[in-house]
């Protein structure tokens, strides 16, 4: 039984789109998507699936929704892509609306189910294909579509105007200089070792993170720069809304900015989906086998500079701390050991969630789910009870979330399930607990 409350959610994006949708158009779009090269692999998967249901337990929505069978990954495929294939696209607008709900809200493409399927069937890609079909038909939740629109118009996720971005950088530099005199955020420095890129919510609502990173970069003595021009935002919600053309376009802007500046590598802030977009999905669509320059996630940067002794930790947290493994950098890039090395340097009392590492549960915010916005918030939180239970069992008072979506998602979980816990990026701890150069602080 699907959740009745979810089915009654009014999302303007979905309602209006299905109102004017003809069955001919649906059939045409489904036909064109399913005749493309990638669809062949999906058909092979559908023929291989033995309908054993072993993927069910892997999914946080299924487990959180008291094992409602409709939330099993295989059921989500059965109710969407499998029907489209079987009926050769002859489905109606209401079907598409339901498919959009399943694909955008009930699955974040975290890929955990593929690790529980004996055949490693790539269910996430099937769901992303459903999203692509929905997107081509305009059946996309309003808020994630708005984010995609922002990417289209501004190359960033949150309608940030170019002057606001530059002004924020200047202002954050001045702020950070209070902490560390002489500190700089070098802009557009050609030939720097590192180009640092962030996601648009940072200038918009969490600007201090930029100042924090400036402190770390300066103390660690890294030859770095940030871009005053477009390409500074590495986020990519178009990847999740199914608008692959905009996804490719903004990844091109992102990487070409790095190539223009002739940096050696790109370092990105603590975000998971942006890593995925910049390293896998974006380059792949653009014809690159991988990113044109090495992309270093913030967790890897912290690991490197801690291991090399370029920064030193002088204060360690003693309170119980747990770690959220972000899907896109753990299941998506195997950074869990480095993450633990960094956290161990900062915290004495780490209480692990179980399961963790590649077997972590998603935060239910990633994959574009949180970007579907307020209409779907309650649904999302119902779908992540299992994370609340996991967090609660640790008894930790702090959850470290090296990913913006995890950070926001877990804050919502803490509020909704009334957990006595707070969240923090690693960066926020790092600047507080690292040794500053002589005579600067204390």
């Amino acid at each position: 039984m699907a959740d009745l409350a979810d089915m009654q959610v009014v999302d303007k994006g979905l309602e209006k789109a299905v109102a004017g949708l003809s069955e001919e158009r649906i059939q045409e779009v489904i036909g064109s998507v399913l005749s493309q090269a990638v669809a062949g692999r999906l058909k092979l998967y559908l023929q291989t699936c033995v309908h054993c249901g072993l993927c069910a337990e892997a999914c946080h929505t299924y487990v959180s929704r008291d094992k409602d069978p409709d939330f099993a990954p295989v059921a989500k495929v059965k109710d969407t892509l499998a029907v489209m294939l079987k009926k050769k696209g002859r489905v109606d607008a209401e079907f598409m609306k339901n498919a959009a709900r399943v694909a955008f809200v009930e699955c974040g493409g975290c890929r955990r189910c593929s690790m529980y399927c004996p055949f490693g069937i790539d269910i996430a890609t099937m769901i992303m294909t459903v999203r692509r079909i929905c997107s081509l038909l305009g059946v996309v939740p309003q808020y994630i579509q708005d984010t995609t629109n922002s990417h289209s118009a501004t190359s960033n996720q949150m309608w940030v105007q170019p002057d606001d971005w530059i002004d924020t950088l200047i202002w954050q530099e001045e702020d950070a200089q209070l902490e560390l005199p002489g500190l700089r955020i070098p802009l557009d420095k050609e030939g720097a070792d590192v180009l640092y890129s962030v996601i648009a919510p940072e200038p918009k609502v969490m600007a201090q993170l930029i100042a924090n990173m400036a402190v770390v970069m300066n103390v660690a003595g890294i030859d770095w720069t940030m871009s005053s021009a477009d390409g500074w935002d590495n986020s990519n919600m178009a990847m999740f809304s199914g608008d692959l053309e905009i996804m490719g376009r903004i990844e091109r802007v992102h990487w070409e900015r790095a190539l223009e500046l002739r940096v050696k590598r790109m370092v990105m802030g603590e975000c998971g989906h942006a890593y995925r977009g910049a390293v896998y999905d974006g380059p792949k669509w653009l014809g690159w086998q991988g990113p044109p320059l090495p992309m270093i996630h913030a967790v890897e940067l912290y690991y490197d500079i801690l291991r090399e002794g370029r920064i030193e930790i002088v204060d360690k947290l003693t309170e119980p701390v747990t770690i959220q493994d972000p899907c896109n950098i753990v299941r998506g890039s195997g950074l869990h050991e480095k993450l633990r090395y960094v956290v161990a340097a900062l915290c004495d009392n780490v209480v692990e969630m179980s399961p963790n590492h590649e077997h972590n549960y998603c935060c239910a915010a990633g994959g574009g789910v949180i970007n579907c916005g307020p209409p779907w918030k309650l649904s999302r939180l119902k779908s992540i009870k299992v994370k609340a239970q996991q967090l609660g069992r640790t008894g930790a008072s702090l959850c470290i979330t090296p990913c913006h979506n995890c950070h926001h998602g877990i804050e919502d979980i803490i509020g909704h399930y009334q957990l006595h816990m707070r969240t923090s990026f690693i960066l926020e701890l790092l600047v507080k607990q690292m040794k500053m150069p002589e005579g600067v602080r204390g």
Partner: protein, 420 residues
């Protein structure tokens, strides 16, 4: 090219600025910029809290600046900076700030001859363009990028002309963007617009246009091409040619289109960075003949060698006979000329510089944190803390080297024959 004929090509070297000295005097010395002729080095220095200055060949600009950044030399050798004075921003040119001050100004751009300077401006809560200190008559909800014609007499910018309420996806899909030419927006509205380009004669403005959610084309003076594509990349004008050319995606491959018609016979996995020979008779672009492999195609013929990481925009020699590009493979960078890859590779390589005839190909490169000059694939022994792209004399017999060694900026002219 002709401009450089008037520069000093006398062989020998001159030390023109001492960064070490500046560092000893000032609290901070930022990244310097060097004039195209190499005669001047400009750099932002910080003298105290909120006290910035620009030093050119060691001499400080007059005005007191609360902040200065984005030092850029115009092609005709004037030094521009974005500066804050009395909490307002403006552009300063050779130490002279524009009369007008703005809440914010950024992204200076120059006409090809360097005579015209433009910048994006925020006035009140609206955005507009400032050309040589004069604001456009109209301002817009947003202005995201602009182009100047070669002579600087015309300017085109992407502007948001319709208000958009928060999360109003419906209105967005009806089109809220237009192109303003010399301040006057086109009547047409588009969902999205990118990369304006102005024809060499200044008569045409072309732009990538998103005409529907999944429909793209090129719009010229407000009129979209008849054909629609799955995606397009930036349009560009062929010197001496008519309408614009642009890569367009058909199905899942890219083709080169000229005025809406397919020009090159081959479809590629990727096709971008179209460049023309100076006379316009040849065209080269970065292409991916197969997924994961990039190269340069000249007039539809891809080079035999392909590269995994990236191929950067190609460049023609002044006579249009040779094509070179920076190429990246397995995290090393080098240069390929007419399909021949240099033997040595580097941590990074800049755009190759070609002279007329069969002269050497030069490129600024980086290895082990130092800069050097590579000539026909061989790294010369001189190392620099900072180096700018080499410039060949109009005849191609001499090279202008602009670099910082031991904290000192040295301008050096060397006969190309002595580079080996």
């Amino acid at each position: 090219m002709t401009r450089s004929a008037s520069w000093s090509w006398e062989t020998g070297s001159r030390t023109l600025a001492d960064l070490g000295e500046l560092r000893a005097v000032h609290r901070e010395v930022h990244e310097p910029a060097v004039s195209p002729d190499g005669e001047r080095l400009g750099v932002v220095v910080v003298r105290g809290d909120g006290a910035f200055a620009v030093a050119e060949n060691g001499e400080l600009w007059e005005p007191e600046l609360e902040r200065a950044w984005h030092l850029r030399y115009t092609p005709d050798g004037r030094l521009t900076a974005l500066v804050r004075i009395d909490d307002m921003w403006t552009v300063a040119v050779d130490g002279e700030p524009w009369q007008r001050r703005f809440p914010f100004v950024w992204n200076t751009g120059f006409s090809a001859d360097g005579r015209v300077i433009a910048a994006q401006v925020k006035e009140g809560m609206e955005y507009t363009l400032c050309v040589d200190g004069q604001l456009w008559d109209r301002s817009f909800l947003s202005l995201r990028s602009y182009a100047l014609s070669a002579d600087g007499r015309r300017a085109a910018a992407l502007v948001q002309v319709e208000e958009l309420a928060e999360a109003d996806t419906e209105k967005f899909a009806q089109g809220t963007w237009s192109v303003a030419v010399d301040g006057e927006p086109w009547e047409q509205r588009f969902i999205g617009l990118w990369s304006p380009a102005i024809s060499p004669d200044g008569e045409m403005v072309a732009v990538q246009a998103r005409t529907d959610r999944f429909e793209y084309t090129i719009a010229v003076n407000g009129v979209p091409w008849e054909s629609r594509f799955a995606c397009v990349w930036e349009p560009s004008f062929r010197p001496g040619g008519a309408g614009p050319l642009a890569p367009a995606r058909v199905g899942s491959t890219w083709r080169l289109m000229e005025e809406g018609e397919q020009l090159w016979a081959t479809s590629f996995v990727q096709l971008w960075h179209l460049r023309f020979s100076p006379a316009g008779e040849r065209a080269a672009a970065v292409v991916a003949p197969e997924w994961g492999r990039f190269t340069v195609a000249v007039d539809d013929r891809p080079w035999g060698c392909t590269f995994g990481d990236a191929v950067l925009p190609p460049v023609f020699s002044p006579d249009g006979k040779r094509v070179a590009a920076t190429v990246g493979h397995r995290r090393r960078w080098t240069v390929a000329v007419d399909g021949q890859v240099w033997e040595e590779s580097f941590d990074m390589a800049w755009m190759p510089v070609l002279g007329p005839g069969r002269g050497p190909v030069l490129a600024k490169v980086q290895r082990g944190g130092e800069y050097g000059l590579a000539v026909d694939g061989r790294l010369l022994s001189q190392r620099y803390e900072l180096l700018w792209d080499p410039v060949l004399s109009p005849e191609g017999d001499k090279v202008l080297l602009r670099g910082v060694q031991g904290g000192k900026y040295v301008r050096r002219v060397v006969p190309t024959g002595e580079l080996r």
